[in-house]
Assembly symmetry: C2
Homo-oligomer: 279 residues x 2
């Protein structure tokens, strides 16, 4: 039977999910089943969730685990009183932080729109992220070659190595303008950089993947095609990696990585700073 976990928040729930999953991942021998409850910002909503937690505790042999990131103290107290293993993220760290910083914490819900200045910063980050996502979409798959001069980074790779999701993620999460260019077989045969890319060599970042995995992914899209055949995938990857080495383009193997890991490693390798907060 799976151990039940509640991720609670008075905001989106992302912090509770991220932290909670990182902690639980340290216990791979146990199966967990999690549910996220965002926007618990009143005592009434907390009472409703508390009833669910208690019901879960009654119907199971083990009490549920609760990761609580609710800032509102009244709501948190209601959750804390339930029959659960309770992880109180804010209380744990805020008290020592208050002492270190010498001021009291706001203990307000979330952190948006409290101060006008802060609100403007959120606005700017929002606009920057939206623009970067639109940039990624408009510069996907080698369209609009002329906007490469605006790009912070240009991802290259053969079809289905993860260029599009990676470039959208870089825009969404970090406000980074990422274009991408697919290396088609004609490009690979050139044995040098395609003309469209030659002027932007320093912005290029290569993606590669294990041929067997690439073949699997392509087979889902076009079953039994030459395009998806292992032999073709081996050949395309060989030529792409040769090009990366020859032109000293940094590159990354995406086979075993999540989108977050691909993006974080790229920024680190390319020496690009994360531009905007995602929160």
């Amino acid at each position: 039977m799976k151990r039940k976990v509640f991720f609670l928040s008075d905001s989106t729930g992302m912090t509770a999910e991220n932290l909670g999953r990182s902690l639980l991942a340290q216990f791979p021998q146990i199966s967990f089943e999690s549910v996220t409850k965002p926007f618990i910002d009143t005592s009434a909503k907390a009472e409703k969730i508390a009833a669910q937690i208690n019901q879960e505790a009654q119907s199971s042999s083990e009490r549920p685990i609760v990761v609580d990131t609710i800032v509102n103290t009244d709501a948190s107290q209601i959750i804390k009183a339930t029959d659960c293993f309770y992880i109180d993220v804010f209380s744990t760290f805020l008290a020592p932080l208050e002492q270190e910083l010498g001021v009291k914490s706001a203990h307000t819900v979330g952190h948006h729109h409290i101060f006008e200045e802060e609100s403007r910063a959120v606005d700017q980050a929002y606009v920057q992220r939206i623009e970067a996502v639109h940039f990624a979409l408009a510069n996907d798959d080698g369209m609009h070659l002329h906007r490469y001069s605006e790009a912070d980074i240009i991802l290259i790779g053969v079809s289905r190595t993860g260029k599009t999701p990676s470039s959208v993620y870089l825009g969404m999460q970090f406000g980074i303008k990422a274009a991408n260019y697919p290396l088609i077989p004609d490009d690979l045969e050139l044995n040098r950089l395609p003309d469209a890319l030659a002027d932007h060599q320093r912005k290029l970042f290569g993606l590669t993947i294990r041929p067997a995995r690439l073949s699997e992914i392509r087979n889902e899209r076009k079953p039994n095609s030459t395009y998806a055949s292992l032999r073709n995938c081996v050949e395309e990857i060989k030529l792409a990696e040769k090009l990366y080495r020859q032109c000293r383009i940094p590159y990354i193997d995406t086979t075993q990585l999540s989108i977050e890991e691909i993006a974080a490693r790229m920024l680190q390798r390319a020496g690009i700073e994360r531009r905007v907060s995602s929160l």
Copy 2:
């Protein structure tokens, strides 16, 4: 002077950033300057970061704040010995969790690819997210109307209310297939749902925004156009909101919200479950 903050991780750094920013947001009266250091997975790398932290402490009147999410105990010890205010996320919560669960934690780096079963789960989540992102892109701005039957949710709204970034984010973060359809002036004059949408009423979710904000955003794109004029924005928003109410379509005002908040509120209002873990 800004108080320096280090977000440290042996993985992507997202957990340290999310948690750290949530905590520091509770102190709006203090200015922080943060830097994220991901992939600190050896003692040698930890030594390098430790030197940076100590240097920062020396050159400033206040010691830096360190949010440490490194699982590797050796590396963490090196960080802990620096001159900083140290927040040790894993040690704080793992010990009580070990006791509750009755097993030792893995204390391994990150959580990917340790067990084959887990690795397959990561693969599946990756594929589902990639597919959902591609779906969002292929079904952006009213293209491919015929794929609406595949969509989990269809976002509607006038131009520049945040439909595209929201639909991409839903795919990226949650593996939700989100299409979007722009309500153009011709649609708004109909005074009923456009034909393309009428069959999918239960999947529709509306976006709205304050007209003054919409006008600002549109002015950045097409300065001094009728499209961007306040009068036109007021009119379009009025008609769109009337349509939502008339057809009982749930809707959300995106004016003051981040992309995360928009997405999380949509899922909650629409009663759609978060499909895949992002980690």
